[in-house]
Every structure is written in structure tokens, then in C-alpha cells.
Amino acid sequence: MIQESIRNQITFSQIAAAEGLKAGLQITPEALIDQVRESGIRGRGGAGFPTGLKWAFTAAEKSDKKYVICNADEGEPGTFKDRVIFENWADLVFDGMALAGYAIGADEGIVYLRAEYTFLREKLEKCLAERRKKVLLGENCLGMKGFNFDIHIHMGSGAYVCGEETALIEALEGKRGEARNRPPFPAASGYLGKPTLVNNVETFAWIATIMVKGSDWFRGLGTEKSSGLKLFSISGDVESPGVYEFPMGISVNQLLTEVGGRGAKAVQIGGASGTCVPSAEFDRAIAYEDVATGGSIIVFGQQRDLLDVAENFLEFFEDESCGQCTPCRIGNSKLLEGVRLLKKGECSAKYLNELCKLAETMQIASKCGLGQSSPNAFLSIVKHFRKEIFNREPVAV
């Protein structure tokens, strides 16, 4: 079933297990980090932090113990590419993690696997066991004396916020999944207070790929600020939903053509926490410098009511806010109440403006990325579809 959801040629298919790891271990950790930096790759989870920089920060920390964490808490509504990667190319992810361990000086890797992916665990454990047999993990990994990198899997418990790296670390430590105050960043003080590198599943797979195909190859694809290729999870009102590989910077229009979604009313880029792009702006580029995404693309056909969309997303955030900071805990509920008033034709223009200002405060005053991005969909829908959402007939009582 998962196989069927792969829609186009995916580069990972060209890379053999351990190929990237072997290549990467030929060079010094410093040179390896330089390669990552030169490739221009940015975090594939969605936030888009330059991966090379993150690795360099963690490598620079002096500590007896460091950790590499693979963020497999793929919880953004509309994204499922990490699941596909694990199903098909788990070795590349583990290669990428081992490369990270080598680069930053860590001997322990942890995969934080979302609870809903429990069905993948057995397969992944088997893969890890195989790798240990082949000495791709464990003591003197690949014959390199003193490089003892191993990986274990930790199951998540179903909280969306644990995709945020510091909340993930809290959960790993057995605490409530809640974002930490930053700084300090995980690179300096992460899991158990030790320097910790957290990257997305896809990021690790690309690192292994870059080691084989070269950083120049990767840099040559995509845009200047968003280099390389990326996997996208396409869902909604399209003819062929599934996982696609596209270069970064692809326009919404191009993408819709590829997936059979022409004539869409709007596209939600970046999942529930992303932006709702109206058809008038379909020439925009899917890239960190324009509209960013961790891979989730949800297409809305002409028949969709965007207030339903906003309501659905805000219901999600009302539940999935970790509940610690005021703007996110209460703000999302207020936005949701507002959407419901709009649906009933009972929201005044003045109150809608108040809600938009509140949403802006949530974006800048919330403690973590969840609350900072949860109002995005609401704001973009109000901005682009004000006429549609504001002209509701009052519901007869």
C-alpha cells in the first residue's frame, strides 16, 4: 500500500545501504561537516535551519557524551513522507545518523518514532540488527577504531508538540512533552543536558545521499537559498495523491500540474501550521524563502469551505497545544471560537480584526514553534478569503 503511494522517481532508490556512510567515513569529521554545509541542505522537518550549521554547533561543544536524535514524530497533518522513507530506505536514515555521530563525536543515536508508527518498529529493529551484524553499527563501526555508534528506538506517545525538538527531548527524558526555554539550544544542552543533534528523518537520508552524489550535485538543484531535492506528501483534491520528489523552489502551479490538482481553490502548504495559498498566488515558490513546508501539501478544490478548514486546524491546535504558555493555550481556543462565530455569521468585523491582532501576538509571543505557527492558516484564510468567510447568512435559531 505504501509502495503505491510513491508517485515519481525518488533519488534515494539510487543509493545503496552503507554507501554514503562508507564515503563519509573516508574524510575527517571537519571535512564531513564542510560537505554538509556546502550542500546548502536545510532541515527537512520544515523549520529549515541550515543543517551544516547545526552539526558544526554540536561538534564544537566539548562533552564526554553527545547524542544524535532522529525526529520521526511525523505529526504535521498531511505529511507521511517520513513513513515512506522508513519503509523503503531506512538504511539511508541510519547511515545519515551514523555520519552525524561521526561528525559531532556522538556514540548514541535515538530514533523518536511516533506512536502511530508502532507498526514500523519491528522492521526497523530488524534493520538495525542487520546493520550490527554487518558492523555498520556498534563497536568499531565499519572497522573504524573507537567509533562505536549505535542506535535505539524510543516510541512517542501521540503528542504533536513532541515534533518540536526540545519537547521531544523532554519526552525522551520521561517528562511532559513541552518545549523548553531556548537558549540554551539542544546543540549545547539537549538530552540529559548533553549536546544533542536533532534532525528529521529525511534530512539524515539526504546526508547519506549527498555523501554519494556530492554536495555540488545537491547544491546545483533547487534555489540558491533552498538547495536540493525534497519529498512532498500530497493529499486533498488531486488526482494522484502520494509522495513525490521535487526540487525545492517548484512553483505551486507546477506542482499542481504534476499531481493532477489544477483548478484548485487553495493549497495548504506546510500542514496545519502552514500557510493557505490562494489560486491567485499559485506562482509562488515552495522554498524556505517563500512558502516553506516540511513536506505537507493539502489541496483544496473549489467546493471546499475554508472556514471548515480553519475550524479543523484550530480544533487540532486547541487539543495539541502543550498547554504551558498563555498565547497558545488560550489563543487557539479564542481563534476557534471566532471561526465558529464566522460560520454562524455572528462575528463582527471589529471582532475579526481583534482576532487577527491576537493571532499576530501568538506568532511572536508564544514559547515555541507550535504557538508561533498555529495562527498561520487562520491569518492567511482571513487575508485571502475575507469575502467568502465573512458573508455567511446568520443561522436561523
Binding site: 503528542a159 511532559r176 526555554n181 537558549p183 540554551p184 491546535f317 486547541e318 487539543d319 495539541e320 497545544s321 502543550c322 498547554g323 504551558q324 504558555c325 498563555t326 498565547p327 493555550r329 488560550i330 489563543g331 487557539n332 481556543s333 479564542k334 471560537e337 481583534e354 491582532k357 491576537l358 501576538t361 506568532q363 511572536i364 509571543a365 508564544s366 514559547k367 508561533q372
Partner: protein, 625 residues
């Protein structure tokens, strides 16, 4: 955790806040730097006693070059930054945050225990809240939890700053309160949402002192006390503990550490109490009873090899500590002194000795205790605390409740004339006074024990009888004191206890002091691991930081400076007793000696003492049915 700017060799970083420039040690938070520059940033979830949380977001500020606002309480300055603390963006965000809080905050200020002393109310005024932009609840959402004898919890007023959780979990290491639920259903709760009266809460009330609103309050019993006062058939007496005197002035606008002992006596009579007694009388009595018990324990264990009364002996005056050990270390209850707390000893004495002496039927006596403490409310309701044949103490009032009664009587406390305590208990010794500070019970006990066994004035060993080594605010203290080679003569009152006293010659007495149950846990774990505290003979533990002067019933707010100021007042009063020629040692308290002559004729730890002044404890465990 906040990284304090301390180390001299830390790198100094330039920072500009609202146009004012300074340099701070790397790691200093923006909030600390602003305070240093005299710039006020509002806070709610921040509390000086606690680790930072960064959740209320009221202290957000704008850092040049950053798109999002940062919580100034958590942001460590590690590179040169320019900060604006009241930019339009910041001001709007703060107002929004308050609006959101008010959209969930149910309860009217008029009827709130924290009216005029509420951080949320103050911020509403400061930020010009003039309407509820995002609504306001018309009805309560949560039931008010009144199950505890000590603490009332009204989640409708809670703004989820989590100070109570941090106080309970990190400061006191009790963990009765926690964050439960997720999303907009997140709340402060208890294990399985049980009522507070049924969980491991030790009633210390430290959460109340750190709650910015009226979500946590002490159970108010002032109406019941008024009823008793107004009832002509009742003889209403009040005993007053030493800590409230050093703090109640704060309720009347005085600086922390302004003692109000003698003014308060007059005020209490004005309020309508028939007699005003000094709890220090039974503090002195406690020293005699507990000190005697210690000598018995030492003799049994060290001389006779009898392990029935184990060492170290723990103090038992702090009801928060007693419940803590009942829950968390029940296997050590045999180490807790069987002597009741001064409050409960007094309760038993009032309804027996005092009633008899004055020909009053004890059933007509209403015995009130003014305490700095919320746990005292629980303690006086313990079923075993009825050795007089009646409930020994009827009501435990906090300093805050009494201040309310005084105000309600139209009295401005600082204006009151000074007057003394009532007989027959009179004024106690300076040793009783210092019970209010951490280390005070230990110092009082040592003053007496040293004189008992050496037959010499304690001033021969410590100037002015100030046993400085056991004083101070360090969380856990370990002190060794050498007993001189010559002993005796031992006073008649305890002479008969053991057949000979030579064993104590040249001995080294090892004592420990801990305050705050978080520190108590460190001591207990050290004992379990066989560390140096396991070698102690006597350990004083107070549940609250700083001892009783930092109690959960004391005026709000609290912080280290306030507690230190109160401690200063306490030690000054003890000194003043000496300067005025009054007793400073428990065994010099004439009223106490008289009680042993007239009433407790078998002496300390005798039969009647045991009946009235001693108790036993209930192993509770950590698990709840």
C-alpha cells in the same frame, strides 16, 4: 535555570535596554539586567525562589534583530544585544496575554482573599485593562476544592503560572500538585484529580505564598473565631507564635522585620480575645520535654545499647515536616520526637492546667492559635490531639487571617499601645522566640542541654549565648559541638533520668538543621545512604524555607530578602530579652518551672507529660487508596 551573574572571571557582555547601557556577566537574564538598570519588566510566572518556567509570557521583550519576542525571565545574555521592554509590539502582546487570562479567570475581586494584593489585579491596572476583549466566564468552570483543613484551591482563578507546581515539586519536593491535561484542558491538578485533602499534600502552604492570584488560599476560619468571640458563654484565648509578630507589620504597610509583639497583644484584646498567651511558653516546655527525650535516647542507645529509641532524634514542631515524614519516610517515624509541637502542648495545657487553675469548664474554652502556618490547621484537627478530653486547639489562624480581623476591628496595628502577655504563662524566654527561625529550635535546645550537662553558663562557650554555628539560611547544616571534660551538677529536674552522667563527658554532639522539605529530603537520603547526617544525634527540620518565619500563613509576598529581614527581627528580640534581664534559656522560664512544680509533678517525660505533651504518628506512605 537562571544562571546567576556571580563568578568574577565570567565574561562581561554589553547590553542596551531601553537606551540604557550596561555590562553584565554572561548568562545574566534580561530580567536581571533590567532590574540592575532600574527598569521594571512585569512578571507573573517568575518567582525569585523558583527556577524559571517562561510560560506566562507577560515579561516578553523585543530584542533587536529578532522577529519573535523573548521571555526576559529566561533569556540569558551571552552576546551584545539591544532590548526594548515596552515597545508597541511588546505592549500589545502583554495586553493580549492579560486579555486571554481574563477570558478564563472567574471570580470577583471584592470577595477574593487576595483583593489588593493580587499580581493579576495589579497588572490589569498597569496595562489599562478596561474591557474583556476575548470574553469573561459568567459561571465557574471548576468546583472549589475545600477538602483540605489547610488549603482551599479555586482553579477558576488560576492563570497557570505553575509557581505552585514548582514550589511543590522542586522547592518542597512533595509533588502534590502537578500539570495535568493537554491543550486548552491543561490545568493544575492532583494525582488522579483527587481532592487536596486526600493526596500527599503536607499543608505547608508554600504554594499559597507564591500564588499570584487567589487560586490558592488558606482555609479561612475567621468567621468561626468571630462567632466564638461574640458568644458570651465562651472564654476565648489565643496563643501567639513568635513568627507572626515579626511579619504581621507587613500587612499594615510596615517594612519586613518590624516586630509588633507588644502592639499585637493590645490589638488582640481589642479584637475581643479574653486572654493573650505566648506560644513561646510551650516552646520552652518543648525544649525541656524534647531535650529530656534526647538525653534518654542518647543514654539508651549509646550507653545501654538499647535500640528502641533510635538516633538521630528529629524535631516535631513543624506539622508540615511531620506529615512529610509520615508520607515519604514512614520507616523513620520512630526517630521523630514524641513531644508535641508548642501549639498542641499549649492546647492541652490550656484546657487542663489553665482551666483548673481558673475554674473554667474546659468545654467553654475556645482555644485559638495564631500561627505563621497553614499546616497548623491540619495539626489541630488531628484526631489524636484531644488529650485534654476536648479538641486541644480549636482553631489555627494564620498571620494573614489575624491581620484581617484586626483591620475589621478598625485597628491600625502600628498605632496600638504596647502591652504584655497574660499570666499565668507570661512572657517566655528568648529561646522560645528564636523557634521562629531555622536553627532556632536547635539553638534553644543546645542552650539548655549544654547548661544541663556542664553545669556552666552557655555564655562560657558562646558569646551572649548566641550559638552562631546553627544559624543561617543554608539549606542543610551539619554542626559538631564538643562537650567539655567536666560535667554537672545536673539540675534536679532531670537528675533522676539516668543513673550517671559521666558518659557525656568530652562527647561530641553532632547536630543537623534543615529547612524546606526539599532540604529535608536531602538529609533523609543522606541518612539512608549512611552519610554524615546518619551520625547526627539530633536534627531540626522545618517544612518551610527560613523556618516558621517563612511559613505558609505569613504575609504575601515572600522572598529571601523578606525572610532574612524577619529573621533579623527574631534574633533582635531574643537579644533584647537578655538586655532587659529576661530569661533567654528555656529552663530559666519561671512559668515553666512552676508548671513542673504544680502540675506536671513527675517532671519532664513523666506520666502526665506523656499523656498531655507527647503524641505518636501515623505512617501514611506515598500511595493513596
Amino acid at each position: 535555570m537562571t544562571q546567576q551573574a556571580t563568578a568574577a572571571n565570567t565574561e562581561m557582555i554589553p547590553v542596551t535596554i531601553d537606551g540604557k547601557e550596561t555590562r553584565v556577566a554572561s548568562g545574566t537574564t534580561i530580567l536581571e539586567a533590567a532590574k540592575h538598570l532600574g527598569i521594571r519588566i512585569p512578571t507573573l510566572c517568575y518567582h525569585e525562589d523558583l527556577c524559571v518556567e517562561g510560560v506566562c509570557r507577560i515579561c516578553v521583550v523585543e530584542i533587536e534583530g529578532m522577529w519573535t519576542l523573548q521571555a526576559s525571565c529566561t533569556y540569558p545574555i551571552t552576546q551584545a544585544i539591544t532590548v526594548k521592554t515596552h515597545s508597541p509590539k511588546v505592549r500589545k502582546a502583554r495586553r493580549h496575554i492579560l486579555d486571554l487570562m481574563f477570558s478564563e479567570h472567574y471570580g470577583e475581586c471584592y470577595s477574593c482573599a487576595r483583593n489588593n494584593n493580587c499580581e493579576l489585579q495589579n497588572l490589569a491596572q498597569e496595562y489599562g485593562v478596561d474591557e474583556y476583549r476575548f470574553g469573561h466566564p459568567d459561571l465557574p468552570i471548576f468546583n472549589i476544592d475545600k477538602s483540605s483543613f489547610a488549603i482551599t484551591r479555586d482553579n477558576n482563578k488560576c492563570i497557570q503560572c505553575r509557581r505552585c507546581v514548582r514550589t511543590c515539586a522542586e522547592f518542597q519536593e512533595v509533588k502534590a500538585l502537578e500539570n495535568v491535561g493537554r491543550g486548552n484542558k491543561t490545568a493544575i491538578g492532583t494525582f488522579l484529580d483527587k481532592p487536596l485533602g486526600e493526596v500527599v499534600c503536607i499543608n505547608c502552604g508554600q504554594c499559597i505564598n507564591r500564588c499570584p492570584t487567589g487560586a490558592l488560599t488558606a482555609k479561612d476560619q475567621t468567621d468561626l473565631v468571630w462567632d466564638a468571640i461574640e458568644d458570651p458563654t465562651k472564654h476565648v484565648v489565643i496563643q501567639t507564635a513568635p513568627a507572626p509578630r515579626a511579619a504581621i507589620g507587613e500587612e499594615f504597610g510596615l517594612e519586613p522585620g518590624t516586630p509588633m509583639t507588644w502592639e499585637m497583644n493590645s490589638a488582640l484584646r481589642e479584637v475581643g480575645f479574653n486572654k493573650v498567651f505566648d506560644t513561646n511558653f510551650t516552646a520552652d516546655l518543648t525544649i525541656i520535654e524534647e531535650g529530656t527525650e534526647l538525653i534518654l535516647r542518647l543514654y539508651k542507645t549509646l550507653v545501654q545499647g538499647d535500640t528502641s529509641m533510635p538516633l538521630p532524634q528529629f524535631t516535631s514542631c513543624s506539622p508540615g515536616w511531620v506529615k512529610y515524614i509520615e508520607h515519604f519516610y514512614p520507616e523513620y517515624l520512630g526517630n521523630v520526637s514524641s513531644a508535641k509541637s508548642p501549639q498542641q502542648m499549649f492546647g492541652a495545657m490550656i484546657k487542663t492546667y489553665y482551666a483548673e487553675k481558673n475554674n473554667i469548664d474546659p468545654k467553654d474554652i475556645v482555644s485559638v492559635a495564631l500561627m505563621p502556618c497553614t499546616a497548623k490547621k491540619f495539626e489541630c484537627n488531628r484526631p489524636e490531639m484531644a488529650d485534654s478530653g476536648h479538641q486541644d486547639v480549636d482553631f489555627g489562624l494564620t498571620t494573614r487571617e489575624l491581620a484581617k480581623m484586626i483591620r475589621e476591628s478598625g485597628i491600625n496595628l502600628p498605632d496600638m499601645p504596647k502591652s504584655d502577655f497574660d499570666s499565668p504563662f507570661g512572657t517566655a524566654s528568648g529561646s522560645g522566640v528564636i523557634f521562629a527561625a531555622t536553627g532556632g529550635v536547635m539553638e534553644a535546645a543546645l542552650r539548655s542541654v549544654l547548661e544541663f550537662v556542664t553545669g556552666k553558663q552557655v555564655e562560657n562557650f558562646y558569646d551572649h549565648a548566641d550559638i552562631i554555628p546553627v544559624r543561617g539560611f543554608e539549606g542543610c547544616r551539619y554542626v559538631e559541638l564538643k562537650i567539655p571534660e567536666e560535667v554537672g551538677p545536673v539540675p534536679a529536674i532531670i537528675q533522676h533520668l539516668v543513673p550517671d552522667w559521666n558518659w557525656i563527658k568530652g562527647a561530641t554532639v553532632k547536630v543537623g538543621v534543615a529547612h524546606g522539605t526539599g532540604n529535608a529530603r536531602k538529609v533523609m537520603e543522606d541518612i539512608k545512604a549512611g552519610g554524615k547526617f546518619s551520625e547526627c544525634h539530633f536534627i531540626e527540620v522545618m517544612a518551610c524555607p527560613g523556618g516558621c518565619l517563612g511559613g505558609g500563613g505569613q504575609p504575601i509576598p515572600t522572598n529571601l530578602d523578606i525572610r532574612e529581614a524577619r529573621a533579623k527581627a527574631i534574633y533582635a528580640e531574643d537579644r533584647a530579652y537578655g538586655e532587659a534581664g529576661k530569661a533567654r534559656k528555656s529552663h530559666e522560664n519561671e512559668a515553666v518551672l512552676k508548671v513542673y512544680q504544680e502540675f506536671l509533678k513527675e517532671g519532664p517525660c513523666g506520666h502526665l507529660s506523656h499523656k498531655l505533651l507527647h503524641t505518636d504518628y501515623t505512617p501514611r506512605g506515598k500511595y493513596i487508596d
